[in-house]
């Protein structure tokens, strides 16, 4: 009997295994509220196991159409997402909102361009996507392997000028999109689903990990977090990490950016180099964050440079 079981396990293993070993994202949408879903990204740096799928992708289903929030890191990822959405609803995907230009949120755009989808993105961020996209794509290919980025391209596309805030109707479902300029990036979009009172805030909020700051204006960003905190919402979907229901959970993002900004400003005034700060070891404050070390090493020199020769 035991031997039979073992044989069975082996047979199952070898039959199932190929689907794990290919570049699959194993996406499972989490239900936020009725007809509001989110794919929560891996809480890691981009690596050759997660294929860059480290940020959250959401979708909202109305009576007539569907809106998707963020395109994800690649063509393949976006294809997987679209397939799963189809299994939920036959309605057409009418809108894709890209919260900002960073690769893990925008590189799936090329997949949506093959469909009749209107892409909504802040003009400043579209510019950055086109300007730096191919460079980051090349770096990502080098980093985690070409196979993750088959068919992923950086294309320009027909873009309709918008006046923010933008109101959309998915069919008995009103959506409001607001623009937050020069905060975490040059133009972050926040998407509100009114029925469920769900707010998709992109990378203005990170949950469960250290926030990244390469294109941030930290002063504005802090104010935006306060603004978001004052709004009414039941569910808040951060750019990275789990669904937030409690306003206290916005604090770690704010505390981190305050701390790294203060450290960089002090360093630029006293002439201390990032290297010398690293040499002292990680400050206790940041140790409680996931991906603290990686983010600290990557972001602090960028920020000090920015302040140093201003």
């Amino acid at each position: 009997m035991k031997i039979f079981n073992i044989i069975l396990i082996f047979i199952l293993y070898f039959n199932v295994y190929p689907s794990f070993s290919s570049n699959d994202f194993n996406l499972v949408p989490i239900k936020v509220s009725n007809n509001v879903f989110v794919f929560v990204g891996a809480n890691e740096d981009i690596n050759n196991k997660n294929g860059g799928a480290i940020s959250n992708t959401g979708f909202i289903i109305g009576d007539d159409s569907i809106l998707v929030i963020d395109a994800g890191p690649s063509y393949i990822y976006a294809s997987n997402v679209i397939e799963i959405i189809k299994s939920f609803s036959d309605l057409p995907i009418k809108y894709l909102v890209v919260t900002h230009h960073h690769a893990d949120h925008s590189f799936g755009i090329s997949r949506y361009l093959e469909m009749d989808v209107e892409i909504i993105m802040a003009p400043a961020e579209l510019k950055r996507y086109l300007k730096y996209g191919n460079r980051s794509l090349k770096q990502l290919r080098d980093l985690i392997g070409e196979e993750w980025f088959l068919d992923t391209k950086i294309n320009s596309f027909q873009y309709k000028e918008k006046k923010y805030p933008v109101s959309l109707n998915l069919g008995n479902r009103n959506i409001l999109i607001e623009l937050y300029e020069k905060g975490h990036s040059d133009g972050d979009l926040i998407i509100k689903d009114k029925i469920s009172s769900t707010l998709f805030v992109g990378d203005l909020v990170f949950s469960g990990r250290a926030p990244t700051i390469p294109h941030a204006n930290i002063n504005n960003w802090k104010n935006y977090i306060d603004l978001i905190s004052k709004k009414n919402w039941n569910y808040l979907i951060p750019g990275h990490g789990n669904i937030i229901k409690n306003k206290d959970e916005l604090l770690p993002t704010k505390n981190w950016i305050t701390f790294i900004d203060k450290t960089a400003k002090e360093a630029s005034i006293s002439g201390i180099s990032a290297l010398e700060i690293f040499n002292e070891g990680l400050p206790d404050f940041i140790k409680e964050y996931k991906l603290a070390k990686e983010t600290w090493y990557r972001d602090l020199p960028i920020l000090i440079n920015k302040y140093e020769f201003d």
């Binding site: 740096d45 981009i46 690596n47 050759n48 300007k131 730096y132 996209g133 191919n134 460079r135 794509l137 090349k138 770096q139 080098d142 980093l143 985690i144 392997g145 006293s270 002439g271 180099s273 990032a274 290297l275 010398e276 690293f278 040499n279 070891g281 070390k293 990686e294 090493y297 990557r298 020199p301 140093e308 020769f309």
Partner: protein, 302 residues
């Protein structure tokens, strides 16, 4: 009991064997440069294939040992002199990250022990670069530590050779691993895929910071492409080498240092100098490989 005795004998034998190997082994037998890696390298899981891990420590101790280097002997003869007296030491500290994401611009700080503050010559050597010498400095004053940003073509030992006033060259070493190769041979900005921004060539920025007990830190930045001559443009033509050759630094008390630079420094090179005494109105005079001169001050009033 028998096994214990055997074990002790065995350990003793191994110790003696290793010891004799160290003491009897050729010109670099004095090699003891700290190959210590920071917590970052020994613990950080990164995305790179062949990720640095705890094995990297062994690997790096190995790579740092000049006996194992196929290029060091020649480099030493060429740069430090055929009959140079060379000592590998661990009190010249090279502070840089172990694992480097952006190999076009790698910050590095070298701190010197007190006995070498009056050094005569300083050469920074990157073994596995196509341009192996990044810079050299001839100082006119005491210098406590210095910094620069460099290019790394590949994983490489980085060595700071410092000549004391006794004529002996003291060498401190550090191993650096890069995420993607090509700090010298690939464009930092790739015009085939992006719009590049270039600053005004020859713009000089100087910053002076006060340190403890009247000491000072000088940071200077020269806007310059520092072309290596190994990068090709969109048409496949080689972009000719074009770099800053000389940086002369002085203040109201006279000359501070003469710095000879090469394209193994990154574009828009930054130089950092820690002096024990603060001076006033630091000035910089730069010459590049096309013979252009740049001044941080009005050169006509000289």
């Amino acid at each position: 009991m028998y096994w214990e005795k055997f074990l002790i004998k065995y350990i003793l034998f191994i110790c003696v064997f290793i010891y004799s190997g160290v003491t009897l082994s050729g010109p670099f037998s004095d090699f003891k440069a700290g190959a210590e890696l920071s917590e970052e390298l020994s613990s950080s899981p990164t995305a790179k294939r062949n990720t640095p891990n705890s094995d990297s420590l062994v690997q790096s101790i190995d790579a740092l040992n000049p006996k194992n280097s196929s290029v060091w002997r020649e480099l030493q003869d060429n740069l430090l002199g055929n009959d140079a007296n060379v000592l590998f030491v661990d009190d010249i500290k090279l502070i840089m990250q172990d694992y480097i994401e952006e190999a076009h611009k790698v910050p590095l700080i070298v701190t010197l022990p007190k006995r070498l503050h009056n050094f005569k010559n300083f050469i920074l050597i990157i073994e596995n670069n196509p341009i192996q010498q990044a810079m050299s400095i001839r100082p006119y004053r005491l210098i406590e530590s210095l910094g620069m940003n460099i290019r790394l073509e590949d994983d490489s030992p980085v060595r700071a050779a410092v000549q004391g006033d006794n004529g002996i060259w003291y060498v401190g070493s550090k191993m650096a691993f890069v995420a993607s190769v090509g700090g010298c041979s690939t464009p930092a900005c790739d015009p085939s895929v992006e719009v590049c921004e270039t600053g005004t060539i020859g713009k000089i920025a100087i910053k002076q910071y006060e340190r403890e007990a009247g000491a000072e830190r000088i940071k200077l930045k020269v806007t310059h492409p520092m072309e290596t001559g190994f990068v090709t443009d969109l048409q496949g033509e080689i972009i000719p080498e074009y770099f800053v050759k000389n940086i002369h630094v002085d203040d109201n008390k006279g000359a501070i240092a003469d710095i000879t630079t090469f394209a193994a420094l990154s574009s828009d090179p930054v130089i950092l100098l820690d002096l024990p005494k603060k001076g006033q109105s630091v000035r910089v005079h730069v010459k590049d490989s096309l013979g252009l001169e740049f001044f941080s001050y009005d050169s006509n009033t000289m």
